[in-house]
Symmetry: C2
Subunit: 360 residues, 2 copies
């Protein structure tokens, strides 16, 4: 797309990910295109099912753009679901109101795992790369577009459990009783994830993020063997430069605050942090190697604008002066947040962050 | 009770909590008297409601003793619920099948908090201290009895949310919007918790544990201000010697692995660790100050005996040689675990741990 590509007008995100000086801290929100926005709910209603919304590149583009119309955000993130890959592997994804994602055909044992076939990314997930292209066109270079995927471990837990889980009884029983079968599954999923992110990058994603939502449920050695190992393999297989620009990779393991040093060894450019880790501590530990993204507790957005502003101030101060910080929530924005509270957070980042960049 | 008190025959737990040499690692399980045991389910059925079971000192004693009849455990833990204090404050605790605890009258705002009255421990929670006395009599000095409480923050979240919560939207909105009201509530609850644990100690509890189930949902500064601060205050107010023996205090913040140094400053004798923290790392960080309890992933008990044994071996090796380790799960045992799997874990601790104590 290089010939027709419009110039990127706001490259704060990419510069911060590269730990280059910026005049203020860039900001975006995980799940920024989501249910807290009335305009999202209206599009969602029109679309039919949640997966119909994901599968329509026009509608996925529409909801991707909605938060950018409301707020001065520094990035767009592809609207999609983390479970598109297992869906493309024939597990039958659907959503049950109030219960989250479900698979009709979970893979419960070794023989179900061995019977799995990898997805054909171009054929089965073309709707995602189509959406990336449509969004890039619509963005006109205003801000960069972030592509994303679930981590191999996170996808595997849903594939084995058949949906969300509190204690991952089945997935962990497999890991401990039949590690070879677990590795076989993770290996196949990691290959698919790599191809999937590369397809997004080729279609125009200018940065990518790996969401490891459930890595934090593992013990340290199990995290290394069954989650981090496969994220590292994915990163090794990624296109790291496209359209004459580096494509930075962010790894976000929710609950992974104890493992930042290990995560920074994965080859990623940035770590996403949930709100339980102090940015200042994280910076002291790994800030010389990677950029840091986060980490306001999303629950703070249920409080009023004054409290939000004061917590934004605290998060900025915790990172301190200089480059390498991307402001974000510590997890996705929740459906009940009043949109003006999200606005108060973004405004506070715009107002309060320049002082931390004055020397740069 | 000193005159009639039988000699404690198995003091491995108390010695390990004092970081004194022991011939093998003591072991008990969080929620060891629980639904995974068919004999528990039978007593529970006879009792009527879950709170009827807690309120009958005879039945609470019966279920407390059940795991000791099955397994060579090194401690009994009082059978009760963490929410007895808010129940005694008039919030109306009940249990909804599959949904966990619910309060009929949650405290939703500042005025509801200001209207709260502290419980009268002797009058409203005498059934708990009665149970402690009955269990001590029944134990005949076989193993020590552990008393417990929920942490002030954990109790407050249930009181505000009215039950379990995924993101603590209401409790955190209170913390950020009206910290004075949150502190007022936590102050009252902390005083009640202190009196409650002291009543358990006077009735015969030989060690106590504070379960901070939801402290890990907070940011680091919020954890310090709204959870750890109040646990520290509770510990400062506790009877630390009774019947000529030190009464050790264990603090367990699930998801608190990043805060071990802060927790060790609370004045506690031991830290409970969930399975995401490596015991060896924790020992290097705080093992010169406190004993460590944990931390097998309870989900490992869904795997077979060979896998269980190998994970027990790994946990023991992670702590390494010497005193100060109490083997436990990293969280409560789950209802679906086959009882023989719990037995395999306990047997493995008995068989494999002596080698780590040979020099002592």
């Amino acid at each position: 797309m290089s010939a027709a590509t419009p110039v990127l007008q706001n490259d704060l995100l990419l510069r911060a990910l590269a730990r280059e000086p910026v005049p203020r801290t860039p900001v975006w929100m995980m799940r920024q295109a989501g249910r807290y926005l009335p305009e999202y709910r209206a599009t969602r209603e029109r679309a039919g099912s949640f997966m119909d919304l994901c599968r329509s590149s026009e509608l996925a583009c529409e909801v991707t753009m909605q938060p950018l119309a409301r707020y001065p955000l520094d990035a767009a993130i592809l609207f999609s679901d983390i479970l598109t890959i297992p869906d493309a592997m024939g597990l039958g994804l659907h959503f049950v109101e109030g219960e989250g994602p479900k698979f009709e055909r979970p893979v419960r044992d070794s023989s179900a795992i061995r019977a799995l076939r990898p997805p054909d990314i171009a054929r089965d997930l073309g709707y995602v790369t189509d959406a990336v292209r449509v969004i890039r066109r619509e963005l006109q270079g205003r801000v960069p577009l972030i592509g994303f995927t679930g981590s191999p471990w996170t996808l595997a837990t849903y594939m084995i459990e058949g949906g969300s889980s509190r204690d991952f009884a089945r997935a962990k029983a497999l890991v401990y009783d039949d590690p070879a079968a677990a590795h076989h599954l993770l290996d196949m999923v990691a290959t698919a994830v790599t191809q999937y992110l590369n397809a997004q990058i080729e279609a125009g994603a200018q940065a990518v993020q790996i969401f490891d939502t459930w890595g934090g449920a593992l013990s340290t050695p199990a995290y290394q063997a069954f989650s981090l190992h496969y994220m590292t393999r994915v990163i090794e297989g990624l296109i790291r430069e496209h359209d004459q620009r580096r494509v930075p990779v962010t790894v976000f393991t929710k609950g992974g605050g104890q493992w930042l040093e290990l995560m920074a060894d994965s080859g990623c450019d940035a770590l996403g942090l949930d709100w339980t880790t102090e940015l200042g501590d994280a910076r002291a530990r790994v800030g010389h190697r990677v950029a840091l993204q986060g980490n306001l507790d999303p629950a703070v957005l249920n409080a009023g604008p004054a409290a939000i502003r004061s917590e934004v101030e605290r998060v900025l101060a915790s990172f301190g002066s200089g480059a390498g910080h991307i402001f974000n929530l510590g997890h996705g924005i929740t459906p009940g947040v009043p949109p003006e509270h999200a606005g108060a957070m973004i405004e506070a980042v715009h107002e309060l962050s320049p002082q931390w960049h004055e020397s740069s």
